[in-house]
C-alpha cells in the first residue's frame, strides 16, 4: 500500500543490498491547520531495508518520533508518501512485519514479563501455551530468562526495556523501530539495551531504526540520519 500526496524526489538509501521495506517519498506530517499548524516532518525521503541499522538523531521536538510513526504506519503523512514495497498494507497491522520499542515503560503492569512478551502473539491468535513457549525462547535469546516471572514493577528500567525488546523479537518482525529506547536509562543499562536490539536485529535479519538524541548510541549503528526542525538529513 502506498500513501501518496506529492511528487517523487531522489531517495537516499542505506548501504545494504537487501530488500527495501520502507520507502518515504517527501513524506510530511503537519498537525493542526491554518495559523496554529505545526509541521512535525517536512518532505522526508528515505529507504529502509532489512539490513539497515539506522540511528535517527536530533534534538527534542525535531520530529524523530513522528517520522518513526510514519515509517511504522502508525501515522499517515499529510504530504508525500510512505510505502512498504514488501507488503500491501502498513507493517504495524501485523507484529510479524514490524515491532516497536517505546520510549517509556511500556509493559502491561499487572502481568509478568513472560506474559508481556507473549502478549502480541496472543493478539495474533496463538494459543496461550504456544505463545508462552515462544516468549520463553525470546527471553532466552536475549539472556533474560530469569526475569520471566517478574512483574514490571519488580524490574529496573533497563530490564524492562530488554523485556520490551524481547516482546518485539517474539513476533519475528522484519522491521524493528525503537523510539528513544534508552531515553530514561543510565549509560550502562542503555548500552545493554542497544546490545540486545542489535543482537535481535542480526538474529532476525530485520531492519532496525531507532531514534535517539544520544550521539554515543547513534555511533553504535551503521548509519545516522539527522532531523532538524522536521527536516531529514541523511548522512552517507
Amino acid at each position: 500500500m502506498n500513501t501518496s500526496t506529492g511528487a517523487r524526489p531522489a531517495l537516499p538509501r542505506d548501504p545494504g543490498t537487501s530488500t527495501s521495506l520502507v520507502v518515504c517519498d517527501a513524506a510530511g506530517r503537519t498537525f493542526g491547520h491554518g495559523s496554529v499548524a505545526v509541521v512535525a516532518v517536512h518532505g522526508a525521503s528515505c529507504v529502509v531495508s532489512s539490513s539497515s541499522r539506522v540511528a535517527l538523531v536530533g534534538p527534542s521536538g525535531s520530529g524523530k518520533s513522528t517520522l518513526l510513526q510514519l515509517m511504522a504506519g502508525l501515522d499517515t503523512p499529510t504530504s508525500g508518501s510512505v510505502s512498504w514495497p514488501a507488503w500491501d498494507s502498513g507493517p504495524f497491522q501485523d507484529p510479524s512485519r514490524a515491532g516497536m520499542v517505546f520510549q517509556g515503560l511500556s509493559l502491561i503492569p499487572s502481568i509478568t514479563a513472560v506474559e508481556n512478551v507473549a502478549f502480541p502473539l496472543l493478539l495474533q491468535g496463538f494459543s496461550h501455551k504456544q505463545a508462552i513457549a515462544l516468549a520463553i525462547e525470546s527471553l532466552d535469546l536475549l539472556a533474560i530468562t530469569g526475569l520471566a516471572d517478574k512483574l514490571p514493577e519488580e524490574l529496573s528500567g533497563g530490564q524492562a526495556q530488554r523485556v520490551a525488546v524481547a516482546r518485539v523479537v517474539t513476533s519475528r518482525p522484519r522491521l524493528i523501530f525503537a523510539d528513544e529506547p534508552t531515553g530514561q536509562l543510565d549509560r550502562v543499562s542503555g548500552d545493554r539495551v542497544i546490545d540486545v536490539l542489535l543482537e535481535a536485529a542480526d538474529h532476525l535479519g530485520a531492519g532496525l531504526v531507532l531514534s535517539t538524541h544520544d550521539a554515543a548510541v547513534a555511533g553504535r549503528l551503521d548509519q545516522t540520519w539527522r532531523m532538524h526542525d522536521g527536516e531529514l538529513v541523511v548522512a552517507a
Binding site: P95, G104, S110, I111, S127, H128
Partner: protein
Amino acid sequence: MIRIWLAGLLRKSPARLLAAAGGISIAVALVAGLGSFLVTSQATMTQRAAAQVAVDWQVQVAAHRDPNAVLNAVRSAPGTVAALPVGFADSPGLHATAGGTTQDTGAAKVLGLPPGYATTFPLSIRLLTGSQNGVLVAQQTAANLHVTPGDQVRVSRAGLAPYWVKVAGVVELPQADSLFQRVGAPSQSQPVAPPDNVILLPAAQFQAEYAGLAKTRPDLVTTQIHARRDHAGLPTDPSSAFTAETGAANNLAVRTSGAAVVGNNLGASLDAARGDASYARILFLFLGAPGALLAAGLTAAITQAGADRRRKEQSLLRARGSTPTQLIRLVLVEAAVVGVLGGLIGLGVAAVIGAASSWPWDLAAGLAGLAIAAAVVAVPAIRDLRAVAAGESAKVTQRTQPAWMRFGLDVVLIALGLGVFWASGQNKYTLVLAPEGVPTISVNYWAFLAPALAWLGCGLLCWRIADTVLVRGRRVVAWASRPVLGPLSQTVASMLMRQRRLVSRSAVLVALALAFAVSTATFNATYRQQAEVDAQLTNGADVTVVESPGAHATPADAAQLASVSGVKAVEPLQHRFAYVGNDLQDLYGINPSTVTRATTLQDAYFQGATAAQSLAQLKSRPDAILVSAETVNDFQLNPGDLVKLRLQDAQTHTYRSVSFHFVGIVNEFPTAPKDSFLVANADYIAQQTGSDAVGTFLVSTGGSNVSAVADRIRNVVGTTGSVGTINDARGLVGSSLTSVDLAKLTRLELAFALLIAAASGGLVIGLGIAERRRAIAVATGLGATRRQVRRFGSAEPAYVLLVGTVCGLATGWGLSYLLVKVLTGVFDPPPTGLTAPWGYLAALIACTVAAVGFASVVVIERARRRARSLLRAI
C-alpha cells in the same frame, strides 16, 4: 501560593473537582432531603394526631365542686378555643315498646349535651338517621331497643321515677371509648368496652331530669367540661407537642386546686404520634445513612482515581522546595473547595426537588459535605504526602491477603449482625418504647446494629468472594471468558488476579450501592403493599356499602350492586352482635367459598393456618366459627370446643343460644374491630336467627376507578346505606407512618439509590484508571484491533459488574428481610413476605450496566485513540 495553586487547580482539573463535588453533593442532597422529609412528616403527624381527636380535653369536675368555676378555668387556660359542660348520669336501664315487641336493656349512660356541642366537637357524634335536634340514641342502643326516630324510650333513674323521651335521631359515637373513659384512672382500670346503651339529652332536659338526683346521689350524676384546644399553635414535633399539652393539662389541674381532673385525649393522641415520629427518625437512619456513606465512598473513589497525579505533583513540589506544611495547606484548600462546592450543589439540588425546607438539616447536610471532603480528599492526600516524603511508590499488585480477610472479619460481622437480630427478635423487634404517661420516649438503637453489621459484613464478604474467585478460580475465570477473549483469556485472568485488590474494591462499591438500592426499594414496596392491605382491611374492600339501621338488605340485593358499571364482584357480609358470656362482640357471617372474590384475605390475618386453610376449616362444617385471639385467651378455648353464643332472633327480637364449633383463630378481618370479634358461616347464622340481613356489601372494582364506581353506587343505594372507599381509608389508617407522605420519601430514596448505583457502576472504571489506560495503550501499540482492545479492556468492568450485581442483589434481599423484620412496628398488619419491585430492580440493573458500559467504552476508546501519546508519556 495558595491563590496560584487554586487557580491552577480550577483551570487544569475542573472535571475532577466537579466529579468529586458531585459525589459530595449526592450525600448532601440526600441528607437535606431526608431531613426535610423528617421535619414535614413530623409536622404532619402532629396535625393528624390532633385533628383526629374528637374532644381534646375531658375535664372531670370533682364531686361537690363548682362546675362553673372549672368551666371558667378551662376557658381561661392558654390554648383553649372552646369549652362546654356535659352532664353524665347513670341509668339502671332503658325500656321501649316498638314494632309490637318490648325490650329492656341493662345499665345505660345518659348524657346532657349543651347547644352547639355537635358543631363544636364535630367528630364526636355522627347522625345516622333522624334529626340531631332532640333526644339521640346510640346505634347499638337503637338496635337493642328496636327503636327508630319517633319512638318513645323510658329511662329509669335510681331512687326516682322513670321518665319518657321521644327519639329524634340515631347516632354513632365514633370515639365512644374515650368519651366514656374513667377520667384520671390508669389504663388498666379503664372500662374494657364503652357502654352498650347510651342516650343523649339536650342539656336543658338533662338538667330538668337530673338536677334533683345530682343533689341526692352525686356519685350517679357528674359534669365534665369538654374542651377544644388550639391545634395550630402546637409545636410541630409530636414529642414537643405532647410535652406542651401535658404541661398545659397539669397546669389546669394545679390551678383548679383539685377541682378538675383532666382526661387529656389530645395528649394521648400526640403520645402515639411521637412513637411514629421516632419510627420516622429510625427510617431516616436506616434508609438514609447507607446512602450518605455510599456517596462518601463514591467521592473517595473519584479522588482515588486522581491519586497518581496528586503524588506526582506532590513529589514535584517537594523537589522544588515546598515544605510539608505548605503542601498540607494546599490539600486543605482543595478539600475545602470540593466540600463547599459539593455542599452548594447538593443544597441546590435539594431545593430544586423541593426537599430543602429545614435550615438545621440544611446546615447539618452542608457540614456533612465538608466532613466527607475532609475524609476522602484531605486525609488520603496527607497520607500520600508522608509516602512521598518516604520515597515510597504505589504498587498495582497485591500478593498478600488484607488482615481483615485473614481474621475473617466479614464472617464475624455477619454472625454478630445475626446474633443481634436474633436478640431483637426475643423482644419482638420493639424499637420504639413509649411508656404510658411518661413524657419522654426511647428508641432501641441497638436494633440498628443488626442490619448495619450485616451490611458491612456482606460488603466485606463480597470482597472475599471477588478475591477468592480470582485467586482460586483463575482457571474458571479464564475458561468462562474464553468465548469472548479467545487466547487472551488466561492472560486476562492472571491480570485480574494480580489486580484483585482494585477489582474487589470496585465490586464491593457496586455491590453495596445495589444492596442499598434493592433493600430500600424492597422495603418501600413491602411498606406500600402493607399500607394497601391495611387500607383494605379497614374499609373491607375497594368499595363498601354499609346498610343504615332499619334498612333490611338481603344477599339478593347484591345483584343490584353487581349490575353497576365498573363493579367486578359483590360479596354480602353479615354483621351481628353476639354475647360471648356477658361480653357483646361483633359477629361476621360470610360465605367462605366466595368471600375472596371481593376482598383480599392475608395469611397474617389468621393464626396457625393460612387464609385458605382457615376458610376451608370454616367451610368444613356449618356451625364452624373463627374466634379472635383475645377471645380464645379470655375464654380458654381449644380447637373443636363447643361455643355457645347468644344471638338475637329476628322474629322474637330476643337473644337465644346458638351452638358453634371453634375451628380456628382470626387476628384481623375486613371491617372488623382490632380486639374481639367472631367469623362464622352466613347461611348458618341466617338459619339460626331467622334473618339473612346483610350489614355490609363488599364491592370489588378490580382496584381501578374506585371513586367513580363509588359515586355510581351511591346513586343506587341512596339513603339506605353509606358508601365507603379504600381511598378514604388510605387517609385514615392509623396515626402511623402509613398516613405520612411516605410516597415523597420513597421517590427521593429510590431516585438517589438509582443515582448512587449507576454512579458507582460508572465510577469503578475510574479506579485504577492510569493502569487501565496504560494496558489499553500498550495493547493498541502492539497492534491489537479495535475489537480486541474493547474486549480486553472490558474484562475487568464485566467481572466487577457480575460479582457486584450478584452480591448486591443477594445482600439487598437479605437486608430487606432484616429491615422488614426489625421494623415490624411500622407494619400493620405485618407482612407475610417481601414484595419485590421488579420494575425498579430491572431499571436499577439496566442503569448500572449502562453506566459501566458507557464509562468503559469512553475510557477504552479514549485510551485507544491516544495510545501513541500515552505510550510516549508513560
